[in-house]
């Protein structure tokens, strides 16, 4: 599919002497794709989004939308001429306008009745037609969120940007709203960039994820890609619990603290590998299977459907998720077995 938006080498420094907040960021967004920028707070993800929207300028690089240059050090199309929608973290609804007037605000080049019709259709889509004459402060957080989305979608932008759109909702509401927003975007065949620090949100909503750290995009891939095949220690850790081991690789096999294991790609010499806790399992240690690589269970968390074990190894420790049919006791000697190949990590840059 065609690339809709291309960001090349975006760079932003707020103070000349400091490390850039956004450092040579490159990525592309395809038509009808939901792309998430995931990273810890202060990694530059919101600034990147604001550069794309046109609220900040880039010091270097460029942005192309439908192969038209929106932004580079010599060009700056103002935000209102970009045709890019924005959903703000705090929604930024116009407090003096009703729900309907908020949604109508961005619909231009149309007669009064046509604007009204389109706005109502939009409200129908988000299931809020009956609340059209309410003021923003009379709505719940989830309703405000949906109005903000409807307002941004109403002018039919070619791309929608969302800055931490679910962070102001409580945990229960967050889950349902997330699925609903994804459905609305997919139904509207909308392309979107979502900025978030919540890995679960990125993994469940996005088609592709760009993981960002210290102003740089470290890895781009599908949710499965970045979760199962992280390229660096940072990505592996940021996307969920994981175990790191130092290992000596010989091709597709390596020797580590938990014994021999398979690697996802060939490597040689000293490497750092990552393996997720659910890709490990436990066996009771017997003199036959324990050749100097067994550990002791130091603690366990029973969570109903599964159990998390913390294992003390000869020089380190590791975490293992197993299903609840493996009842080991604290202090028992066990052997850790990999179920999947381990991932070889690059050095963090």
């Amino acid at each position: 599919m065609n690339e809709l938006l291309t960001a090349t080498n975006l760079t932003k420094r707020f103070k000349p002497e400091e490390h850039p907040v956004v450092d040579k960021v490159c990525f592309g967004v395809k038509e009808q794709e939901i792309f998430a920028i995931l990273g810890p707070s202060g990694c530059g993800k919101t600034t990147t989004l604001r550069i794309i929207a046109g609220f900040e300028r880039t010091d270097d690089g460029s942005i192309q939308l439908n192969s038209k240059t929106l932004e580079c050090p010599y060009t700056h199309i103002p935000p209102e001429k970009r045709g890019i929608g924005f959903v703000f973290q705090d929604y930024a609804l116009f407090p003096h306008l009703s729900v309907l007037e908020n949604v109508k605000f961005g619909i231009r080049n149309a007669g009064g009745s046509e604007r009204e019709f389109r706005a109502l259709k939009m409200l129908d889509l988000i299931g809020m037609k009956s609340l059209r004459s309410r003021k923003p402060h009379e709505l719940s957080g989830g309703q405000q969120q949906r109005v903000a989305l409807a307002r941004a979608l109403a002018p039919k932008p070619s791309l929608l940007l969302m800055d931490e759109p679910f962070s102001n909702l409580d945990a229960v509401l967050r889950n349902s709203t997330r699925n609903e927003v994804r459905k609305i975007l997919k139904d509207a065949k909308m392309s979107a960039i979502l900025v978030t620090h919540d890995q679960e949100e990125a993994l469940s909503v996005a088609d592709r994820i760009g993981v960002m750290n210290n102003g740089k995009i470290v890895q781009i891939g599908t949710p499965e890609d970045v979760y199962y095949r992280p390229k660096t220690r940072f990505v592996a850790q940021f996307l969920g619990k994981t175990n790191f081991f130092a290992a000596q690789a010989t091709g597709l096999e390596a020797r580590s603290e938990i014994g021999y294991l398979m690697l996802d790609k060939p490597a040689r010499g000293d490497v750092m590998i990552s393996i997720r806790p659910e890709h490990l399992t436990l066996e009771r240690a017997t003199p036959a299977n324990c050749s100097g690589t067994c550990g002791i269970i130091s603690s366990k968390e029973f969570k109903g459907h599964d159990i998390t074990y913390h294992i003390k190894l000869p020089t380190g420790e590791c975490i293992v998720h197993t299903d609840n049919r493996m009842p080991f006791g604290i202090g028992e000697n066990v052997v850790v077995r990999p179920l999947e190949p381990a991932v070889v990590l690059k050095q963090d840059s």
């Binding site: 420094r13 103070k15 000349p16 929207a53 046109g54 609220f55 300028r57 010091d59 103002p78 935000p79 209102e80 001429k81 970009r82 045709g83 890019i84 929608g85 924005f86 703000f88 705090d90 930024a92 609804l93 116009f94 407090p95 003096h96 605000f105 961005g106 231009r108 307002r151 941004a152 002018p155 940007l161």
Partner: protein
């Protein structure tokens, strides 16, 4: 950083340009004060500056300021404490009574004081008491204190309301008595509020001209008036204005230094717990008597005096002048109010949305126009206009412009607080929906500022309606406002003739005070 990057961070030109213009418009005339003062030769300048009379005038001014500060503290603090910390019934009325004296300008109080005493005064004719006409230091002290104590009251009340009651409870739990708590915990935390009240009152006393001139107490402002009025020597007038300006700057710097280390005292904006009110018991009768006495002196007595003199019979010709005066006052005040709001909007916007050194300095210029003693400011405008744009000298336009710069700060307060309540992202939201930056401001932020702007316009309008010193110097010949007439008739002891003008001023001032009161009251209800 490239220069272009730096420019991007500046506010848009349509906000920046008016703000810069205000800065220049305030400072440039003040520079001309200096130019004019240095007009003569150096020896003459030194002689004018180091006259012994200047020292006497300065000491008189400081003596009056100190006296007023002591009296207003004793008047303002009980009001503030009663309305914020006690269980006294009728807090709303007491608060209103504490603000209402602002409706009777110092020169009207001076007029009332003059009208009370003496053989023909209110007291001797109504109550059969003959009292010497108050004048000089004690007269000026009384008039100005009764007029200005509400400023201290309002600041202290805001301060007391903002204190976190849990610090007091903590002190009690550590073994302090309630008096020790007041002395060791409450009062130290009230310092910032007290200082800002002190600042406003000191600036007022230094700049006051109406009361001191009617009661004949020689302060710097009074001397400036005499010099301007009776002598042709404008150079000495310029020197007195410069001394006044130096005094003002000293006070501003002192205030800044005093407040600098104290900012941590300000209570957080979080939801604080309800204060527990002190039960007054039988003490409440003393409290009511205090409130009653102050109200009687500051409001009722002046009002009776004005009505008494009005009942003595007023020359019918006066009614004709009254109509013209009201028109003149409105003609000058209304455009000034609109202009002040027009200047205040960009200044407030820049200071709230683009906080930086530059915007901070620009904002200070707005306050400089307010802090400069009005006679000195007016004189500066005369020198400036005569030298640079002579055709606006002696026009209403110049008067309107001077009003708007002088009262700009009064318009900025409400506009700023409205801006703080407006979410900044809504303008970006409007832009992302296809509206230009300027139109985004007009369509989203501006409607939300309406209340603040209207309040700002009203404050400036009502203040300008009762303004005396700037009007006195800058009004074109034959252009007589209400304030000018009160002042000139009372100056000639024509108390009956002054009465209708005084009543009209009170009418506008009461609206001002009610507006101020409703905004103050809303803050905590």
């Amino acid at each position: 950083m490239k220069t272009s990057d730096y420019i991007r961070k500046l506010p848009p030109w349509y906000f920046f340009a008016p703000a810069i213009f205000v800065g220049i418009a305030v400072t440039l005339p003040l520079v001309y004060l200096l130019v004019r003062a240095l007009d003569g030769n150096l020896g003459q300048s030194a002689e004018l500056l180091f006259r012994e009379r200047n020292l006497t005038l300065l000491l008189n001014t400081l003596k009056l300021t100190a006296g007023v500060l002591v009296v207003t503290t004793f008047l303002g603090f009980p009001f503030a404490w009663l309305t914020s910390r006690t269980d006294i019934a009728g807090k709303r009325v007491i608060t209103l009574l504490g603000v209402l004296p602002l409706a009777i300008p110092g020169y009207v109080l001076a007029y009332a004081l003059l009208g009370i005493g003496g053989e023909n005064g209110t007291l001797s004719q109504v109550f059969g008491l003959t009292v010497a006409r108050p004048s000089g230091y004690w007269g000026a002290l009384t008039a100005i204190s009764l007029y200005t104590f509400p400023y201290l009251f309002l600041n202290l009340r805001t301060g007391l309301m903002g204190l976190d009651p849990s610090t007091e409870e903590a002190a009690r739990s550590l073994g302090l008595s309630s008096f020790q708590v007041l002395y060791k915990v409450v009062l130290p935390q009230l310092k910032p509020a007290f200082y800002s009240g002190v600042l406003i009152i000191s600036l007022y006393v230094i700049g006051d001209f109406g009361a001191v001139s009617l009661l004949r107490y020689e302060t710097l402002s009074y001397a400036l008036f005499i010099q301007y009025e009776s002598a042709f020597d404008r150079v000495y007038a310029a020197w007195i204005a410069l001394i006044l300006l130096t005094l003002t700057c000293t006070i501003l710097v002192a205030e800044y230094k005093l407040l600098k280390g104290l900012l941590f005292y300000r209570a957080g904006t979080g939801v604080s717990r309800k204060t527990r009110f002190v039960a007054l018991g039988h003490w409440k009768w003393i409290a009511y008597s205090f409130v009653g006495l102050v109200t009687f002196c500051a409001i009722i007595l002046p009002l009776i005096t004005i009505l008494f003199w009005m009942a003595q019979g007023v020359d019918p010709l006066v009614w004709e002048i009254l109509g013209r005066s009201i028109t003149s006052s409105v003609v000058a005040s209304a455009p000034a109010a609109l202009l002040a709001a027009f200047f205040a909007l960009p200044l407030a916007y820049i200071s709230v949305r683009y906080p930086s050194r530059t915007s901070n300095i620009l904002q200070r210029f707005a306050y400089l126009g307010y802090a400069t003693p009005p006679l000195a400011l007016a004189l500066a405008f005369i020198f400036f206009s005569l030298n640079i744009i002579p055709f606006i000298y002696q026009t209403i336009g110049l008067l309107v412009f001077a009003y708007s710069l002088h009262f700009l700060a009064e318009a900025m307060g409400p506009v700023r607080s409205a801006l703080y309540q407006t979410p900044p992202r809504i303008e970006e939201a409007a832009q992302s929906l296809g509206v230009s930056k300027f139109m985004a401001f007009v369509k989203t932020t501006l409607p939300l500022l309406r209340g603040g702007i209207i309040a700002g316009i009203s404050f400036v309008f009502l203040s300008a309606m009762k303004e005396l010193p700037i009007t006195f110097i800058l009004a074109p010949i034959g252009f007589e406002t209400l304030a000018l007439n009160v002042w000139s008739f009372s100056g000639e002891a024509m108390f009956a003739e002054a009465a209708p003008f005084a009543i009209s001023i009170l009418f506008f001032s009461v609206i001002f005070v009610l507006l101020l009161f409703s905004r103050e009251w809303k803050k905590y209800e």
